[in-house]
């Protein structure tokens, strides 16, 4: 089996009291799990790809010529390690840039731009992390989002995924959908659209379940519409071969066809055992039984695992 999330999970799917689908997912403490999680975090949650574009913005403000921006970035990229936590190797970058161009003023501006990007990015990351320190449930939710993403990708085998690219900031003025996936069927008319609202908790299962219900039951559909639009934008580049089919599934949802699921995901410690009554209340989501799905992601020593991720990714 390839090194994917499926390898670490035991999944039990059922229909809960004929009210909604329930997936009980146990994440086992197998060897390699931690390094797998860390690798996925780095790839998916910190999105270093966007650095190049951010650099272009700062270089643009600093009047760096377009041509200089273009040849600078590959040089800079080779001298970034664990950005933004660690500083780039400015002296090596400067040396390489001076070899590539005689425009010393431009090189100075490039370095200033990079420095500004680094300082801002580092501060932004620290701010987000700091924001999580006082709220353990948010901290769990942040890792739970990755678990959910991996579950959708590796276990549900979702064909297109649109997820938050950066970690949540509780102070953020705007929080959108956590995860949007499309799962293709053998019959394209039966392709499913899944909307995910993801939470994690140390002990407040009821509260997080209620938060999920409130989110899905909020009036209007702008929160979903705009996520759908953003997903379409992203999928065009990310899944060029299948994005048209995915867009079709989203469009069918928008004209109120019954091809969707509202998925609530709650990550908890294995020792926290929500009662049937607590689970039953998930039915309050305004949708038919086939359109709502609760996924409970459980793991042993949840807090230790969270701190491991937190320390490695954010505090190194």
């Amino acid at each position: 089996m390839a090194n994917n999330f499926e390898k670490y999970c035991e999944v039990e799917n059922k229909v809960f009291e004929d009210l909604f689908s329930l997936s009980d997912v146990k994440i086992n403490q197998a060897s390699g799990l931690d390094s797998f999680i860390l690798e996925e975090f780095t790839k998916k949650r910190l999105d270093f790809h966007s650095l190049e574009l951010s650099f272009e913005t700062y270089a643009g403000i600093n009047d760096v010529e377009q041509e200089v921006i273009q040849f600078s970035w590959p040089i800079i990229q080779n001298h970034l390690s664990n950005f933004p936590i660690d500083s780039p190797d400015y002296s090596s970058i400067e040396q390489k840039l001076n070899q590539a161009t005689k425009k010393t003023e431009q090189v100075t501006k490039v370095l200033e731009s990079l420095k500004r990007l680094h300082e801002i990015s580092k501060h932004a990351l620290e701010s987000n992390v700091r924001g999580l320190e006082d709220d353990i449930d948010k901290k769990i939710g942040y890792v739970g989002e990755l678990f959910s993403y991996l579950y959708a990708r590796d276990i549900q085998k979702a064909d297109c995924l649109y997820h938050k690219l950066i970690l949540d900031n509780p102070k953020s003025f705007r929080q959108g959908l956590d995860l949007l996936t499309v799962i293709f069927d053998s019959d394209s008319d039966k392709d499913q659209v899944h909307f995910w609202e993801i939470k994690g908790t140390q002990k407040n299962f009821d509260t997080q379940r209620n938060n999920i219900i409130t989110w899905f039951n909020q009036p209007g559909d702008k929160h979903l519409t705009m996520a759908i639009e953003a997903a379409k934008m992203q999928w065009k580049n990310e899944y060029p071969k299948v994005y048209e089919r995915a867009i079709k599934a989203l469009s069918r949802f928008q004209i109120q066809e019954n091809n969707f699921r509202y998925v609530g995901s709650i990550t908890i410690d294995q020792n926290l055992k929500p009662t049937d009554d607590a689970i039953r209340k998930f039915k309050k989501i305004n949708a038919n039984k086939n359109n709502k799905h609760l996924i409970i992601l459980k793991t042993e020593k949840l807090l230790e695992r969270i701190e491991m991720v937190y320390d490695t990714i954010c505090k190194k």
Partner: protein, 1052 residues
């Protein structure tokens, strides 16, 4: 106005195909119609029909994914895709119109504006962006206030404001992008996104305004970065907004003037985009297509352009003229039949073209020319805006400016179907084509000529050298409704919207309802919900009664501007008139029997959109661009005869206010004429030669047409174009050059040729018609009989001295004689007007003495509105028009009769101004100039000009101009502007000036200083001119010595 019928483009069908079933796609048109219908039903306060609400709701659900599918479409047919977006935009627009929730409504307005821009309907995009209720922005937690305001300014095309906002947002976000200010990753990316978005819009705006090529590339990259940053900021809304904006900006820039540099010279683009008063940055699709067809390399010399009303013909014509004049030497003549349009076009061109060094001159009047004055103020002008009659006069006088022409633009060319004027226009175009067409361009413009007839225009101008553009695109959608009642339905008032739907029972059953009553009821409905309404009535009396009825039923309103207008109009109306009271409520009527002052006040209120309801006759209905959303045609008759189909179409074209709304409604109250809206064949576009062909000598049925032909032949005879030796060839040559030749069959052609040949023979064989007498006959533009009658009378003038004034007053006994000779026994077209008036000469005397009409009316005992209307009709419909024209010919004939021995007749120069005094109702050169230069209030002109200097000879107009420019007052702004913009070089003789050539300073006392030394003083009468030019800082003043010592004042 664009005709509608919902059209589902191929790209929309393809987009729908990916998520809708076949049946649903086929149903799409019905859903769109239902949404439209629901909106209109609600707008008119009619209960919606069962199913429409559900259908509309269904469509609103579909349209969001449909737009998205279309946005992601890879369809190659760009034009089809554009139509698709236009349809989507209109759906969002209607969705907004029926949506009760403000936040959702705003979302729809924004979606609509973006989609309209993407669909290249930029006027509608501006309108829908303007509907966004901005007061809600700061309350909506989902919106970023700065970004939303910036985008709305951009979409509203407020370039100045959005540029300021973009720059301010760049500065603000740059300042906020500091480590200490950033409290989250989302915030970091959000600020980066805002900064890139603002930079993108800044660059797009800089390209729109200045054509910066680097910006044309950079805006797109900034937008891409912005979208990427917003994706990482988790703000799905801004991701959506910026991605849509990107496509919309692309569409906008495609049609931007700076993107058309291969077509339009850069200096012209600069004149439009950098105009301070009202810049223009992009063209509508109709304009781009028209210009590509007309001014591309390889375009044929002549062109017939058919474009709907309000689709931007004037701008197209202005660019065509400017390009031609910049590339070639010569003059442009812009010919338009209505005086109001002459003024509008003149104002438009004067806004943009002077920056290109092109001087525009509006040549007022028709056959009552004052050549000295025109030459004086039109010196160096290269664009002349005038009526066909005025151009006809210039041709008759072999004016050098026509000889130097390089382009003629004929507007409203469908008017060739009109009696008299139409034939004159056809002959004018025919001879311009024949004489100047091989080096001058001829552009024919119309909004209403059907496509199959437009072919005839091409044939007329010559297929080898001419082509046509028939453009249906218009900024507003046109809805055409026909009102009817059926006995079998208990006489319920129904409305059928052509190609759309029925509105049953829009008015309750009423077997005895009168047309006026039901028109009023519909007016109230449309006005309340869809804005200003124009009601066309078939007579002056009906227009007045209709307005009164509407006024009695319309709720009162209060508006300072209307109150002021009401007070103003009060002094020009009889005591029993309720027009001033109506005006206060935003209701008015307009017809030929109102004084010019009242008419122009009402026209201005109408243009500015201040009136809720305006009832009018054909006087206003055609030719004036009014600000109305709905036109209700209460009758298809004009006086006693049914209106021509094209006139009705032209009238219908007034509905819809581009840049103010996206639709226009035309309601026809006479269902018996419904084919006007449904059958193109009903629209007749036919040369008046058909009527000429049918008329026989002494038959007065088509007298005007016959007179026009005679007059034309007289001019050709004088110009030696026809003679006794070449009648057969000449008549053939004349007839083959006409539109008629391209429309007639062989029999019709032969019959007409025979008639024309006979008339030509008659003209060339008139005994003793030669020399100066023939010249006058040729130049007046009057028919042969009128010329002969006048000539007989002129011969009775004894050798004498014609003094215009005695002891400072008018020499009335002599003037009266002259005028009475001009009152022909059989007036050309004013017979009925004259029947209603007694004491004609006394009235005329008071008219040119400058007495207000209301006083003349009281003096004559005309105390009621009807009598006042008769009087006004007499003055404007006869004295100012026909009598003035005849008088102009008569004065010239007197001159001609003494040409052999000029010393026998001593005639004051002011007699040559008498025709214009009759035209404007003034009695001195100052008042005359005030009126000619744009002062619409004749009474004010008379009041101001009481102390005007008089003219001794024709070279002294500078004194009058100086005097006029010295008059102060808000009302004179337009006069001053017109005069100053029309004066290229003022050359004032300085009697005592002895200095050397060079620059000098002139102070307000008129003292001329050179090298700090006073060298001379300016004559006192020129002081006002010097003062005003200095005050306005619009002129450089220098002294040159060209043989004579002159002070030259050259406006900057």
């Amino acid at each position: 106005m664009q005709k509608v019928g919902t059209y589902i483009s191929t790209s929309v069908k393809a987009a729908a195909n990916s998520f809708l079933g076949k049946n649903e796609i086929e149903n799409l048109k019905k859903l769109v119609d239902s949404l439209e219908k629901l909106y209109i039903f609600r707008a008119l306060n009619v209960n919606p029909e069962v199913g429409d609400e559900d259908a509309a709701k269904k469509l609103v659900q579909i349209v969001i994914p449909l737009e998205s599918q279309l946005y992601h479409s890879t369809a190659e047919n760009e034009e089809d895709l554009i139509r698709g977006f236009s349809l989507i935009a209109s759906i969002f627009e209607y969705a907004a119109k029926i949506e009760p929730d403000q936040s959702k409504r705003n979302e729809f307005w924004l979606r609509s504006s973006l989609a309209y821009l993407h669909g290249k309907k930029s006027a509608n995009s501006i309108v829908t962006a303007g509907k966004y209720e901005q007061t809600a922005i700061s309350d909506d937690k989902d919106l970023n206030t700065d970004v939303t305001r910036l985008i709305l300014s951009f979409l509203s095309r407020d370039v100045k404001q959005s540029l300021e906002q973009a720059i301010s947002l760049i500065v603000k976000t740059n300042e906020e992008l500091k480590p200490d200010e950033i409290d989250s990753i989302e915030r970091q990316f959000n600020l980066q996104g805002q900064l890139e978005l603002a930079s993108s819009l800044r660059d797009a705006l800089l390209f729109l305004k200045y054509g910066e090529q680097s910006c044309f590339k950079s805006w797109k990259r900034h937008m891409e970065l912005s979208i990427n940053h917003f994706q990482r900021s988790q703000d799905d809304y801004l991701v959506w907004l910026t991605s849509r904006l990107e496509k919309s900006i692309k569409s906008l820039l495609d049609n931007s003037l700076w993107n058309l540099t291969s077509l339009i010279p850069e200096q012209i683009i600069k004149a439009f985009t950098q105009n301070e008063e009202k810049p223009i940055y992009d063209l509508w699709d109709s304009q781009v297509v028209a210009l590509k067809n007309i001014i591309s390399k390889g375009s044929k010399r002549h062109h017939s352009l058919i474009m709907p009303t309000s689709s931007g013909k004037t701008l197209v014509a202005t660019i065509i003229a400017a390009k031609q004049l910049l590339e070639k030497p010569g003059n442009c003549f812009y010919i338009t039949p209505y005086r109001a349009l002459v003024s509008e076009v003149s104002q438009f061109m004067n806004r943009y073209l002077p920056d290109l060094g092109l001087k525009i001159k509006h040549l007022p009047g028709e056959y009552d020319a004052i050549p000295e004055l025109e030459n004086f103020i039109a010196k160096d002008a290269r664009i002349f805006i005038l009526t066909p009659e005025k151009l006809d006069l210039l041709w008759r006088q072999t004016d050098q400016r026509i000889k130097d022409s390089c382009i003629f633009i004929f507007d409203e060319v469908q008017n060739v179907i009109e009696e008299g004027r139409g034939l004159r226009l056809e002959l004018l175009i025919s001879r311009i084509k024949k004489t100047y067409g091989y080096f001058s361009r001829i552009i024919l413009l119309s909004a209403v000529i059907p496509e199959n007839n437009a072919v005839k225009l091409v044939e007329w101008l010559g297929t080898k050298n001419s082509e046509k553009s028939f453009i249906e695109w218009a900024p507003t959608r046109g809805f055409r409704g026909i009102f009817y009642r059926l006995r079998k339905e208990d006489y319920k008032g129904n409305l059928v919207y052509v190609d759309k739907f029925h509105i049953n029972s829009i008015l309750p059953p009423d077997q005895n309802a009168t047309r006026r009553q039901e028109t009023m009821e519909l007016v109230l409905k449309y006005q309340k919900h869809l804005g200003p309404v124009l009601v066309y009535c078939n007579s002056k009396d009906e227009a007045q009664r209709m307005a009164e009825l509407i006024f009695q039923n319309l709720s009162q309103k209060s508006n300072k501007e209307l109150d002021e207008a009401s007070e103003y109009v009060k002094s020009y109306t009889s005591s029993d008139s309720i027009l001033p009271l109506m005006l206060k409520s935003g209701v008015a009527y307009h017809h030929a029997s109102l004084s010019n002052t009242v008419k122009s006040t009402i026209e201005k209120l109408g243009r500015d959109g201040k009136l809720d309801v305006l009832c009018c006759t054909s006087t206003l209905a055609e030719g004036v661009n009014l600000n109305v959303g709905t036109v209700i045609i209460s009758s298809v008759y004009q006086g006693g005869t049914s209106m021509e189909g094209m006139r009705l179409q032209n009238l219908a074209g007034r509905a819809g206010r581009a840049l103010k709304d996206t639709e226009g409604h035309v309601i026809l109250m006479d269902s018996g004429f419904n084919q006007i809206f449904t059958e193109e064949e009903f629209i007749r576009f036919q040369s008046r030669f058909y009527q000429y062909m049918l008329s026989i000598v002494n038959d007065t049925t088509y007298l005007e047409d016959v007179e026009v032909i005679e007059s034309d032949l007289l001019a050709r005879f004088y110009k030696n174009e026809i003679s006794q030796d070449n009648v057969d060839e000449s008549s053939k040559e004349l007839l083959t050059s006409t539109l008629f030749y391209n429309q007639a069959n062989v029999d019709e052609y032969r019959m007409t040729l025979s008639r024309l040949t006979n008339d030509m023979k008659r003209i060339v064989n008139i005994p003793n018609l030669k020399g100066i007498q023939l010249k006058v006959f040729a130049e007046t533009g009057l028919g042969l009989k009128q010329c002969q009658q006048l000539d007989d009378k002129a011969k009775h003038i004894e050798p004498t001295s014609l003094k215009f004034r005695q002891h400072g007053s008018l020499n009335w006994s002599q003037i009266q004689d002259i005028i009475s000779f001009c009152m022909l026994e059989k007036p050309r077209f004013s017979g009925r007007i004259l029947q209603n008036i007694e004491n004609k000469m006394e009235i005329i005397k008071n008219w040119i003495l400058g007495k207000p009409i209301i006083e003349i009316s009281k003096q004559q005992g005309f105390l009621d509105t009807k009598s006042l209307n008769n009087l006004t009709n007499f003055l404007y419909g006869y004295v100012a028009d026909e009598l003035s024209w005849v008088n102009s010919a008569f004065i010239k004939l007197i001159d001609a009769n003494f040409s052999d021995n000029p010393s026998k007749l001593q005639i004051d120069y002011e007699y040559y101004l008498l025709p214009s005094y009759l035209k404007y109702g003034v009695n001195n050169p100052g008042g005359l100039l005030l009126c000619m230069a744009g002062l619409e209030d004749r009474d004010l002109a008379n009041q101001l000009s009481q102390n005007s200097p008089l003219l001794k000879d024709k070279n002294n107009w500078i004194n009058i101009i100086s005097w006029v420019l010295g008059q102060e007052g808000k009302e004179l702004e337009k006069v001053h502007q017109n005069l100053i913009s029309n004066i290229s070089v003022f050359s004032i003789p300085l009697d005592k000036f002895i200095g050397e050539t060079g620059k000098c300073e002139v102070n307000d006392l008129g003292q001329i200083y050179q090298n700090d030394k006073m060298v001379s003083t300016i004559r006192s009468e020129h002081l006002p001119l010097i003062k005003i030019l200095k005050r306005r800082k619009c002129a450089t003043i220098s002294i040159t010595k060209n043989g004579n010592s002159l002070l030259q004042i050259i406006p900057a």
